[in-house]
C-alpha cells in the first residue's frame, strides 16, 4: 500500500520537533478560540495568516490544521457550559449539552464531546489518507473546462448553503469576485479597479479581506448589539471520564456521526452544519429507553452530544479532501487555509501531491498527532480551558482587534492597509447586519482569480469559442451536481412541507 508508506514518511516530517511545536501551538490556539464565543477557527486562521509568513509552508499549514481541529473540540466547551456555540459546527451540541450541564452532568457531556471529537477526527483522517490518492488520480485528468466547472460548483453551493437566502449568498459571492479582480491582471498586466492607488494595483492581500470581513466586521456587529457582554458559564460538574455504560451509549452515535461528517465534509455544502444537524436528528429519532426519556423531557441525552461532536470533527477531515486534492474550499476555514497555501505560492490540487508530497503527507500525519494532543488537552486539562470563559468580554474583543491590526500592519508595512481593513470591516458589518453570509465573499475573492485564469486560458486555447466549457462530460456532470445542490434542498423542504400539511389535514 503506497498510501501507508507515504503516510509513514509523513509521520517523519510531522515528528520533527519544530513541526510538533507548530501542531501543539495550533491545537492550543484552536481550542482556546473555539472556547471563546464569537470567535471561530476561520477567524483565527485569518488573524494568523499575515504573521505566519515567517513560519514556513509546512509549519504554518500544520498549525492551521491544528487550529481547525482544535476549534471543533473547543467549540463544544462553550456550547455545553454557556449555551452559546463558539462556531456554527457546535450549534447542535448546545441543545442536549447545555441541558446536561444544567442538570449536573456537564462533565459527562464534555467527556462525550471530547472522545467523540477524537473518534471522529481519527477515523475521518484515516479516511482522508485513503481517499485522497484516488481523488488525485481523477483530478489529474482535469483540464481547464473541468476546473472551471468545479469552481462554478463551489461558487454556487457556497452561496446556496450558507445563510438563509440564495440571492444574498450570490450577492456576497459577487462582492467577493469584485474584490478578486482588483489589481494587476496576471495574463495581460492590465491594472483593474485600483484607482491609481499603488497598494491596490498589486492585488489586495487576501489576509486584509479575510480579517476585515470576519474579524473587524464581526466585532463591529457584536458592538452594535444591545446585549450584556457578561454572561455566566455553568460550572463543570461531575467527572469528564466516561464509564462503561456511558461509553456503550456513545459508541453508536460516534460511528454514525463520523460517517455523516466524513460524507458531507467534502461536499460543497458549507462544512459542518448539515452533518451535525443530521447526526442530531438521527440520534433523536433512534433513541430508545433512557435516552428516549431524556430527549423527550429535555433532560439532556448524551447521544445528542456524542453524534454531532463526532460529526463535526469528521467533517473537518472530510473538508480537507477537496481542499488538498482539487484546491476547492468547502468551508470558511478551508477557504482561509487555501489562502494560506497561496501565500507560499502553493496551489492545492493534484500537482501538490506530486510536487510537495512531503508537505501534504506531513500535514495528514500531523492531523493524527494533533488529535492525540487534543484529547489529552481536552480531557485531563479541561479546567484550564473553562477558565478562559472568565476573561471579561470587552477586553477579549479589544485584544482580538489589537491583534488583527497588528498582523495586517506588520505584514503590509503601511498604514494604508488599515484603511482597507476598516473599509472591509464596514462592508462585513453591513453584510452581517442584513443577513448576508460572509463565506461566499471570501470564497469569491480567493477562487475568483483562479476561475478567471482557467476561463481565459480556455478561451485562448479555443480561440474565443465559449462552447469548450460544455464540451466535456465531466464538466457537464459537475454542472448537474451544482444545479442539484441548489435546487435539491429546496425541493426536499418543499415536499416535506407538503407532506406535513397533508398530515395536518388528515388529523
Amino acid at each position: 500500500m503506497d498510501t501507508f508508506i507515504l503516510l509513514f514518511d509523513g509521520l517523519g516530517t510531522a515528528m520533527q520537533p519544530m513541526n510538533l511545536m507548530f501542531a501543539l501551538l495550533g491545537v492550543m490556539l484552536g481550542t482556546a478560540v473555539g472556547v471563546m464565543p464569537g470567535i471561530g477557527p476561520a477567524l483565527t486562521v485569518a488573524l494568523l495568516l499575515p504573521v505566519s509568513l515567517s513560519f514556513g509552508a509546512t509549519g504554518s499549514m500544520i498549525m492551521f490544521a491544528g487550529i481547525y481541529y482544535g476549534g471543533m473540540y473547543g467549540g463544544a466547551i462553550s456550547s455545553i457550559l454557556l449555551n452559546t456555540p463558539g462556531e456554527t459546527a457546535s450549534i447542535m451540541t448546545a441543545l442536549e449539552g447545555n441541558r446536561m450541564a444544567k442538570r449536573g452532568r456537564g462533565g459527562k457531556a464534555l467527556g462525550a464531546a471530547a472522545f467523540g471529537s477524537f473518534f471522529g477526527g481519527m477515523f475521518a483522517t484515516l479516511g482522508l489518507a485513503i481517499v485522497a490518492p484516488f481523488m488525485v488520480m481523477v483530478a489529474l485528468s482535469f483540464g481547464t473546462a473541468e476546473y472551471f466547472a468545479l469552481m462554478v460548483l463551489s461558487f454556487m453551493t457556497v452561496s446556496a448553503a450558507f445563510g438563509g437566502s440564495m440571492s444574498r449568498g450570490l450577492t456576497a459571492l459577487f462582492i467577493g469576485l469584485t474584490i478578486g479582480i482588483v489589481g494587476t491582471d496576471k495574463l495581460t498586466g492590465q491594472v483593474r479597479l485600483a484607482f491609481g492607488i499603488p497598494e491596490m494595483s498589486d492585488n489586495i492581500s487576501i489576509a486584509i479581506v479575510a480579517v476585515g470581513l470576519f474579524a473587524i466586521g464581526e466585532t463591529m456587529y457584536l458592538a452594535s448589539q444591545h446585549i450584556n457582554h457578561k454572561t455566566k458559564a455553568q460550572a463543570v460538574s461531575g467527572s469528564v471520564w466516561l464509564n462503561w455504560s456511558d461509553f456503550k451509549r456513545c459508541i453508536r452515535p460516534y460511528i454514525r456521526g463520523t460517517g455523516l461528517g466524513f460524507l458531507f465534509g467534502p461536499l460543497p455544502t458549507g462544512g459542518a452544519e448539515i452533518p451535525t444537524f443530521l447526526s442530531y436528528t438521527t440520534e433523536k429519532r433512534l433513541a430508545t429507553g433512557e435516552a428516549r426519556r431524556e430527549f423527550d423531557e429535555g433532560l439532556g441525552a448524551i447521544e445528542g452530544v456524542a453524534g454531532p461532536e463526532a460529526a463535526n470533527n469528521a467533517s473537518a477531515a472530510g473538508t480537507l479532501i477537496p481542499l488538498l486534492t482539487l484546491g476547492l474550499p468547502t468551508s470558511a476555514t478551508a477557504a482561509m487555509m487555501l489562502a494560506g497555501f497561496q501565500q507560499y505560492g502553493l496551489q492545492p490540487g493534484p500537482l501538490l501531491f506530486t510536487n510537495n508530497a512531503e508537505l501534504v503527507w506531513g500535514l495528514v500525519a500531523s492531523l493524527f498527532i494533533a488529535n492525540l494532543m487534543l484529547v489529552v488537552l481536552n480531557v485531563p486539562f479541561i479546567g484550564i480551558w473553562v477558565k478562559l470563559l472568565t476573561i471579561p468580554r470587552p477586553w477579549l474583543y479589544a485584544g482580538i482587534l489589537t491583534f488583527a491590526t497588528l498582523g495586517i500592519v506588520g505584514a503590509q508595512g503601511s498604514p494604508f492597509a488599515l484603511v482597507l481593513l476598516l473599509g472591509f470591516g464596514l462592508v462585513g458589518f453591513v453584510m452581517r447586519r442584513f443577513g448576508y453570509p460572509l463565506a461566499p465573499a471570501l470564497v469569491g475573492a480567493i477562487l475568483g482569480p483562479l476561475a478567471e485564469e482557467q476561463l481565459r486560458r480556455g478561451l485562448m486555447i479555443n480561440q474565443g469559442d465559449w462552447w469548450f466549457l460544455l464540451n466535456s462530460n465531466i464538466a457537464l456532470t459537475i454542472y448537474a451536481i451544482a444545479l442539484l445542490s441548489i435546487f435539491g434542498p429546496r425541493l426536499w423542504s418543499f415536499t416535506r412541507k407538503a407532506i406535513r400539511q397533508n398530515k395536518g389535514a388528515h388529523s
Binding site: R192, Q225, H226, T402, P415, L418, F434, R456
Partner: protein, 183 residues
C-alpha cells in the same frame, strides 16, 4: 400542524440552515435595503466604467481582461434589481436596534489608530488607544484602566513580533527607544 407550543419549538430547532428563507421578513418597505441596492448599482457602474478604459489588445482569446469585469458587473446589476424587490416587499429580517454608541467607539478607535500611525506616533501608542476604545465599545467604561492594559498588551505584542518574528511595525519615539535598549 399541531398547535402545541412545545412541539412548535422543537420544529423550530430542527429546521435546516437553508430552510428559513420564507419564514423571516418584516413585510414592511425597507429603506436601508434600498440603500444597499443603490450601492450595488453604483458598484456595477464603477466596474463597467473601469473596464471600458482598458487598452484593447488583439489576442487568440478574442476576450481580454475586460470580459470578467463585465460578467461580474452584469451579475451585480441583476442582484441589485432583486435587492430592490426584496427591500420593497420587506423580505429582510427584522433588525435589532443599532447600538450607535458602541459602534462609534469601535470605528472611532480604528480611525484614531490610522491617524496616529500616519502621524508617526508608532504602533504601541496607536494600539493602546485602539484597545481602550474597543473595550469601551463593549461596555468597559474604565478608559484609563483600558489604556493601561492596552499599552502593556501592545508592548508585549510589539516585542514578540518585532524581535521574535521580525515583522516591521510602524515605529514612533517609544519603539525607537526600545530598539536602542535592545541593541
Amino acid at each position: 400542524m399541531s398547535g402545541d407550543p412545545k412541539n412548535k419549538a422543537a420544529e423550530e430547532e430542527l429546521r435546516l440552515p437553508f430552510e428559513d428563507e420564507p419564514a423571516g421578513g418584516t413585510g414592511k418597505r425597507d429603506a436601508a435595503g434600498l440603500v444597499i441596492a443603490v450601492a450595488l448599482f453604483a458598484l456595477a457602474a464603477v466596474i463597467v466604467n473601469d473596464a471600458s478604459g482598458y487598452t484593447i489588445r488583439r489576442s487568440y482569446a478574442r476576450f481580454g481582461p475586460e470580459i470578467v469585469p463585465y460578467v461580474i458587473a452584469s451579475g451585480i446589476t441583476i442582484l441589485a434589481v432583486i435587492t430592490v424587490i426584496m427591500a420593497w416587499r420587506g423580505q429582510f429580517e427584522a433588525r435589532d436596534r443599532l447600538n450607535i454608541g458602541g459602534l462609534s467607539w469601535l470605528v472611532g478607535g480604528i480611525l484614531v489608530e490610522i491617524v496616529m500611525l500616519y502621524g508617526g506616533t508608532g504602533f504601541i501608542a496607536g494600539s493602546a488607544v485602539l484597545f481602550a476604545c474597543a473595550a469601551r465599545a463593549f461596555g468597559q467604561a474604565t478608559l484609563l484602566l483600558n489604556l493601561a492594559i492596552g499599552a502593556v498588551l501592545s508592548t508585549l505584542l510589539f516585542l514578540l513580533f518585532r524581535y521574535g518574528l521580525g515583522l516591521s511595525l510602524p515605529s514612533g519615539p517609544l519603539e525607537r527607544a526600545i530598539d536602542l535598549l535592545v541593541r
